[in-house]
Symmetry: C2
Subunit: 651 residues, 2 copies
């Protein structure tokens, strides 16, 4: 029997400051590089990048400029996701220039909003009479979701409610358009997103109708006959995207009701945004059936359909999940946004179930795929995240055209850059979980925070070198005596650990859902020293994963390593490693702003004896080779080159 | 200096009877199963298959039925390729019922032909005013090419010229529509095919204008500005295929003039049909530049871009060539038709250059990919020919949707079935090459033939068990004394060989372009005994082929072997073989109508110690496994199962 007792909270961004050297190289980029760069993009002022037309569309919709709508139908979300990222950034660190730009955009959105609350530039400009007629592809509800998320974040960050009022007006319209009542549209989003946004709007406003609408969308979805199939069969249906002419409801998780789904199917971003909403709703309604579905979906992903790097979506065609253990490394999609969705889902599940193990996955996602999604300079992005790249054959107009061997300035469909921005800007929310009498430490990222437990102010400081030596120190100061539990996540990759509290070794008690609980009457300054044994080591994938059979990958804690051509020469596929080879961890202060690298010896098949022939009698000659592996998240930061995560093992 | 001295001829099908047990299981299907089945398909009488609409379109075009055009724009070629196959079959073995059906179809084509000679059901029915306006996608010239090929074959086989007259009328129209003269269209085919057909029409009719038109198409192609890009830019251009909206001239080998091309690019079938025509034209015009281009293109394919099975086209997107050494085994396209094109190109090159080595590739193509394209029962087909199949993840609406784990009854685009039919029906043309004073034995396929050299009738009989023990006997009887050379191809896979002529061992003279020449005054019955040493052995791919690095494949002579789940269990990717393991060849009389199988021992990674986790510390346990490999061409004839060609090697 599943019981949803409580949901842990996250810390407010204004109460936490990230001080971590590893992470600051990225989080500092948010206000300094990423948001200003994206601002230029939204204004079409980056010469080398294709124009985004984002703000121009709003100006046309507001009647302030003349012209056609430009860009994809959901291009508005580039603006609203940017606004959400700005909100998180402002909450962390005020910035009057950024806030002024955001306020101006919000004013513009207000002017572009229609008198009945409707707000969407594509339908307002291009097809005003076609509102809600193409939920399959039109993305109006998806766009509304990101608008709502931005509004909630901006209100939380600044206390200003202008965008919140705009979002509520639009949400109120959606509440009367969609539902089971007479004359209402019994539809639901072609791209899920609004569901989780409506839960946030409910949590901020207390208006239950938003929550009910979210639940309606989940409950209506997947009913027979399928809404989308009916919609596209209509005589006057005009397709927006050619690939939907042969629409399969699995693509949008509308093949069966979400609460009956047990395997992760279809478009990965749609899936994970929906699962996140399902987790929220399971808590809000104490809906145990829905929670059970979430648990089964999570289990299916993390035990059958997830890359070592925390990425998901094996098929480039339709950017989707495929089948259990189908994890090709060189043609996969593994969209950055899908991994962000997995982090969103995992952190929700962890907080509902008070279970640290979800953070093993969230951590894997953040340290690998999310960070790989952005250049160290913060100005270019990966949309697709393969685990094996041979740049010469990532050729336009072929099956590998989606694989980019170098990060891109922007994209025609640019969901990932702003998604990375809002994720980095809100990283602080992942580090702790909180309830009324407990603090949970999920991620070992250096930070300072101010929290309140049972009315007592507590300042905390986490110092860590855990990526290098497994060690962290958590120092906190309680202004007066207060009894509460400090729960430290013991990651699954930790071989052994020891904890000292104020110089005294703590007896190991059994973990509670992956957390070690330290319950005490705390007062004044306390010092918890955490020592994890974390080794660089080779891992293997389940033998059913055909693509990784007989191969190993190097990991240390949450960090997945890869080989790059820059360090190891060409043709990484010809390398064969003995999984028992000694691994030499070394800090390279000059590489990627300072990183741990791992050196080891292997052998490499040579082309000795080969001439021009393509096939010949099998006779392999090998030479020893010294290799240097670097964190996967940093790959591709030194120009176009080969990259490989899974190495052949000598077996 | 390249000199085109002569072109060897092929034997006429009426002069050769294939008696080979291995091949008869397929060639007997042509008149007994394949052509009657395809006849039912053309008439839309196969209930389980989608209607083809083929003959119905012609009836509508002839004004004898009412209705719309149905099927793809080039669906006419299903009929004309069937007619060509019927012609070859009739030439081999008369069949009055088949001939009657064919004659009726030809009459219908005559009635569907327009008064000016134009013949194409799509444009006649659907867009009569749009003739020649969309060469990029419209396939009118492609369809004309197959019409011409069928006409030439039917005339050769039956002496009836009705279809030839129809084809000539259409060709004559094309001759006045296309060219560099004033008011003529300076276009060329979006899908090459008519070029090689026009050479055949010239060879049959002696009308030089057909040859000149073929040369014009080759010479005009690839000029700047690109014809197709100009065409699709026109205001009124309506796309037929969505994927061409972002047209890349490389796709249709129109990026540069064909004679300047040095690497095989773009859509593989288009490419190979064009290269075949280039070879023909190089001979006809003694055009050494064109021949040099053919040689470079051939070299590029067979040393960089061809699968072990003789298939080509690494990318499913656009069914195309990609880059050197890019040969993925589980997502490739490797269209059956493209391999047929390679056999067409190779046999032409062999005959122009009098070089046996081209037949090493032609033989590889025929024994592996062409045969894999059709079921042993002759009623189902593969379009796509991967070298590694995991049926569970060949899922609709994913990147692997093109991979079918079982052969299909028919296809929406059904080029392959009729292409296989005409190739099997004309197999006899590949076996010998001839000139005025020499006979060349290219393929070791049992047959009886009647040939004439220097006016002397010679009957020949080839007996062979070369797939099993490397032995063949060539018996021939010359009605009177005649001096000529018998040239026996010594395949590159032969380790050593010995030849006995009438009981006497022949001293080995140096091979001439891969042929051993036996020049003598022959009279009466002669017996040449050929003993090749051919072993089952493991081969490796060039180390630059990332997909095959550290892997081996089993071959014996021209036959590529594979593992099937049926014989070896699931998860073939987990098998690791020592390339030095003994190979036990054994004949299995019950398998696939009798086949050589190869047994050997390997090890397999087990899932011992694995639970539900997807990744864990690398620790491989293996168990010994007895394996049985079967010829690749027979795979998938026992239901849906895993298949694998390239096995991991222990290195």
């Amino acid at each position: 029997m599943i019981i949803i007792k409580k949901r842990l909270k996250s810390i407010k961004l204004k109460d936490i400051e990230i001080t971590d050297k590893f992470w600051r190289r990225y989080t500092d980029l948010v206000p300094n590089v990423i948001l200003p760069y994206q601002w230029e993009i939204l204004n079409d002022r980056i010469g080398e990048a294709e124009p985004s037309y984002c703000l121009r569309n709003y100006k046309i919709a507001a009647g302030e400029e003349k012209g056609q709508h430009s860009g994809v139908v959901f291009i508005d979300t580039d603006v609203t996701k940017w606004l959400e990222a700005v909100a998180f950034s402002l909450e962390t660190k005020p910035d009057s220039k950024l806030e002024k730009n955001a306020d101006e955009v919000i004013d513009l959105l207000g002017r572009a909003q229609q008198s009945d609350g409707y707000l969407n530039t594509y339908y307002t400009i291009a097809e005003p009479e076609k509102r809600w007629s193409n939920l399959t592809e039109g993305h109006e509800l998806y766009c509304a979701g990101h608008l709502i998320e931005a509004a909630v974040a901006y209100y939380d960050a600044t206390g200003k409610d202008k965008l919140l009022v705009i979002a509520k007006r639009f949400a109120d319209l959606i509440c009367i358009v969609f539902g089971t009542g007479e004359g209402m549209l019994k539809g639901y989003p072609g791209h899920q997103e609004i569901e989780l946004a409506l839960v946030k709007l409910y949590n901020t406003t207390g208006c239950k109708r938003y929550l009910d609408l979210a639940m309606y969308f989940i409950n209506e979805r997947g009913k027979v006959p399928n809404y989308f199939l009916m919609e596209i069969k209509k005589d006057n249906h005009k397709f927006i995207f050619d690939e939907f002419k042969d629409y399969d409801p699995v693509y949008s998780q509308s093949h069966i009701p979400p609460r009956l789904q047990t395997t992760a199917e279809g478009h990965a971003v749609r899936a994970l945004y929906m699962y996140s909403a399902m987790a929220d709703l399971a808590f809000e309604y104490d809906d145990r059936e829905l929670l059970k579905a979430c648990m089964m979906l999570w289990e299916n992903i993390v035990t059958k359909r997830m890359y070592l790097t925390g990425s998901i979506g094996s098929s480039a065609v339709l950017e989707r999940f495929t089948t259990d253990y189908d994890l090709p490394n060189d043609v996969n999609y593994s969209e950055t946004c899908a991994s962000i969705g997995l982090a969103m889902f995992g952190s929700r599940m962890s907080r509902i179930k008070c279970d640290a193990s979800y953070f093993d996955v969230v951590e894997r996602v953040l340290y690998n795929t999310v960070l790989a999604g952005i250049a160290l300079k913060g100005d270019t992005y990966f949309y697709v995240n393969p685990l094996e790249v041979w740049p010469e054959n990532c050729k336009e107009h072929t099956s590998k055209a989606h694989i980019k061997p170098v990060r891109q300035k922007w994209f025609n469909v640019a969901c990932c850059p702003t998604n990375i921005a809002r994720t980095l800007a809100s990283l602080g929310k992942y580090i702790f979980s909180l309830d009324e009498d407990s603090l949970y430490l999920n991620l070992f990222i250096e930070n300072k925070s101010n929290i309140k437990i049972k009315g007592v102010n507590i300042t905390t400081k986490l110092l860590t070198s855990f990526l290098y030596d497994g060690k962290s120190t958590f120092i906190f100061n309680a202004s007066k005596s207060v009894k509460f539990g400090i729960n430290i996540r013991i990651p699954q990759y930790v071989k052994s650990y020891s904890i000292m509290v104020n110089g005294e070794k703590v007896d190991k008690s059994p973990l509670k859902n992956g957390y070690l609980e330290l319950l005490s009457n705390w007062k004044g300054e306390n010092r918890i020293e955490i020592a994890f044994e974390i080794k660089a080591e080779f891992v293997a994938a389940h033998p059913e994963v055909r693509a990784d059979a007989g191969k190993v990958a190097l990991v240390k804690g949450p960090i997945v390593y890869c080989l790059e051509e820059k360090d190891n020469g060409k043709n990484l596929s010809s390398i064969i490693v003995n999984p028992d080879t000694p691994l030499q961890e070394c800090f390279d202060p000059d590489l990627f702003g300072g990183t741990m690298a791992v050196k080891f010896t292997a052998k490499k098949i040579t082309d000795e004896g080969w001439g021009n022939e393509l096939y010949r009698l099998a006779k392999f000659t090998t030479v020893p080779i010294e290799l240097k592996a670097v964190p996967y998240c940093f790959w591709g930061n030194r120009g176009k080159n080969e990259m490989l995560v899974w190495l052949k093992a000598s077996i």
